[in-house]
């Protein structure tokens, strides 16, 4: 267990004071529901972009990516350079004009404008439940970690953090959440960079790390580069620790999962919708690509250093084992913090971790209150609500959202399996979404009946595929094979990628078929919602070098270069 000194407490307290202070300061500027739900559409691109990046950077991501770095090595970078950058560039160039230009307040609202009420309802309700659940899981993980690491009481730490999140969202709405995400972004950077630097110094620099990882790989029966190269061993599923091959990786992760998440998840799109202009909204994901590209060095490398240290026996570095005897990779970050950080820096690292748990919760709660108020309350419960009633409802939904998150956290604590099952169900619902948006934005013939049945079909296909397949060494049940085991995948990750590929294809095919059976949408109604029906106003002002397309291509080029360097 780590012992905190007065200085560490002081840093943490200072952070809490600032967070609440920012909320208090912003309070006087929240007058309309648009201020509360969309920051009055006033965010400059760099703020929205960092929040966009940061909303996805929950503490689970930081801890999970370090764990993957230890488990799979450099290939974890695929989650960034393949599984994020191309989708973010696509969002900026092709999709943002419709999200921002349609003046929709949320992603489900776009679905109503483009398709119909039932498609929106399906998306809004599943999304609302999912946000509350993931915010609960984030709180639960935080309570557990603080308890393990510092001996803090699970309940007390969870309720205090939830209380602070509640206070600052009630005060400043989405603006509070976004500002805290930006703050958290820099805290993570400055809180974890010394960890990487000190770790690398300890292990003998990059070359020391590479030779350490060679040993990790050969110890486990792989070729010596399997932990330090990202593409080299993707030819066959048995040559790399992830158990995936390049096609499943590129199609499953790089296309379906990544585009499905980055281009349709309202939690992150909301940050771009809050931007001050169309140009700022399109630049939001592009601004985010820069840190996103560099983050592997911050979050994956600590895991690689840790596993190299474990295998070299250098300085008696050890990772705690789980009940079944395997290493507990989730503790990489906490163990490294305890090893390398003296009191002082420790407070900073801890503040960064707590900040990212809290902003993970805040991101979910702000997305929840918007979708609830805008896409469930307004259309189905009180169609003629005034703006002040919507603002009031937004605040009430914030309180309810935080309370429901706490309930979800306790559910997660009590029945681990229920949460696994729920997460699985939502994975099925999400998997086909990108097909719906792709067809919606680029094929004007797609209609509401097609979109809705396509979504349902894609969800069913995902569930059936999961029910018929199983990862190697797993028991039929929550991991798959609950119908019958027809195919065994080399790893859970490979199974996930292929579930996504099947769901996308099923949704795509059914949407097209059913759309063709019913009448095409009236032409006049699709302006601003579909590519071919929207006049392409002369691209943004400014020189050719600062246009969205040029900047996007530059980001893609940089990602290609990174892939080549670490090939």
């Amino acid at each position: 267990m780590i012992k905190l000194a007065l200085i560490d407490w002081a840093l943490l307290a200072l952070y809490f004071a600032f967070v609440l202070g920012i909320g208090w300061w912003l309070k006087r500027h929240v007058r309309t529901s648009e201020d509360f739900f969309l920051s009055g559409r006033s965010m400059p691109a760099w703020v929205a972009g960092l929040a966009f990046m940061s909303a996805n950077l929950g503490a689970q991501e930081v801890i999970g990516m370090a764990a993957s770095g230890a488990k799979y090595g450099m290939a974890t970078s695929h989650f960034y350079w393949v599984g994020a950058i191309p989708a973010m560039v696509f969002l900026a160039i092709f999709m943002m004009p419709f999200y921002y230009g349609s003046k929709a307040r949320s992603v489900p609202e776009y679905l109503r404008m483009r398709f119909d009420e039932k498609t929106r309802g399906f998306n809004a309700i599943s999304f609302a439940v999912m946000t509350v659940m993931s915010s609960g899981i984030s709180m639960y993980a935080m309570g557990l970690l603080l308890n393990l690491l510092l001996g803090w009481d699970f309940n007390v730490s969870m309720w205090i953090c939830a209380g602070i999140v509640l206070a600052y969202i009630l005060l400043g709405g989405l603006t509070s959440a976004i500002y805290n995400e930006v703050l958290q972004f820099f805290l993570i950077v400055f809180g974890f960079l010394p960890l990487v630097l000190l770790g690398l110094r300890d292990i003998g620099g990059w070359s020391g790390l590479r030779s350490g990882l060679a040993r990790v790989a050969t110890d486990q029966g792989y070729a010596s580069g399997a932990w330090s190269d990202s593409w080299q061993y993707l030819g066959s599923t048995t040559a790399n620790p992830m158990g995936v091959e390049w096609f499943g990786l590129v199609m499953g992760l790089g296309f379906v999962l990544s585009f499905g998440y980055w281009c349709t998840d309202f939690l992150i799109i909301q940050r771009a919708m809050a931007a001050e202009s169309m140009q700022a909204a399109r630049r939001t994901p592009l601004v985010a690509t820069v840190p996103k590209m560099l983050f592997p060095f911050l979050v994956i490398v600590p895991g690689m250093i840790a596993i190299a240290l474990v295998h070299s026996g250098h300085g008696n570095f050890a990772l705690p084992a789980k009940a079944d005897g395997s290493l507990n990779y989730d503790l990489v970050i906490p163990v490294m913090l305890g090893r390398y950080f003296p009191n002082g820096l420790l407070g900073l690292g801890l503040t960064a971790l707590i900040a990212s748990f809290m902003s993970g919760m805040a991101g979910n709660v702000t997305a929840f209150n918007t979708v609830w108020t805008n896409d469930i309350y307004r259309p189905y419960i009180r169609p003629n609500a005034s703006d002040s009633a919507l603002l009031w409802m937004g605040r009430a939904a914030t309180v309810v959202g935080v309370l429901l998150s706490l309930v979800a956290a306790y559910l997660a604590a009590a029945f681990n399996n229920i949460m696994d099952v729920l997460q699985l169900v939502f994975a099925f619902i999400n998997a086909p979404l990108f097909a719906t948006f792709l067809l919606g934005m680029f094929w004007r013939r797609a209609n509401g009946h097609g979109a809705f049945t396509g979504l349902l079909a894609g969800t069913v296909v995902a569930a059936v595929h999961h029910g018929l397949t199983l990862p190697a060494h797993a028991v039929a049940g929550v991991k798959g094979g609950w119908l019958e085991t027809m195919h065994i995948y080399p790893s859970e990750m490979a199974q996930n990628f292929w579930t996504a590929i099947f769901a996308f294809s099923g949704c795509f095919a059914v949407t097209v078929l059913v759309s063709l059976l019913f009448a095409a949408p009236e032409r006049g109604t699709l302006r601003g919602l579909v590519y071919s029906e929207t006049p392409h106003a002369a691209e943004e002002s400014g020189s050719r070098w600062t246009r969205t397309t040029t900047l996007g291509l530059m980001a893609l080029g940089a990602a290609v270069v990174l892939n080549l360097i670490f090939w």
Binding site: F18, Y340, P342, G347
Partner: protein, 63 residues
């Protein structure tokens, strides 16, 4: 935008820098691997905070 985030962020990082750097300079704890990491990193944090404040002031002047 009604509050430039660079102001609070700049102040917070300057305070973090002063607290961590000051603690590193004053405490007699053994430095890790021969480096007084608190002092060093405190300076980095402080410099970042000052840069943010400078940018915020420049932004306010332009408006």
């Amino acid at each position: 935008m009604n509050l430039d985030i660079r102001w609070p962020m700049g102040i917070l990082f300057v305070l973090f820098g002063v607290l961590i750097g000051g603690y590193g300079a004053l405490s007699d704890a053994t430095p890790i691997g021969g480096l007084n990491v608190n002092l060093l990193w405190g300076c980095v944090l402080g410099a970042f905070g000052l840069a943010m404040l400078w940018l915020a002031r420049r932004g306010a002047r332009q408006e």
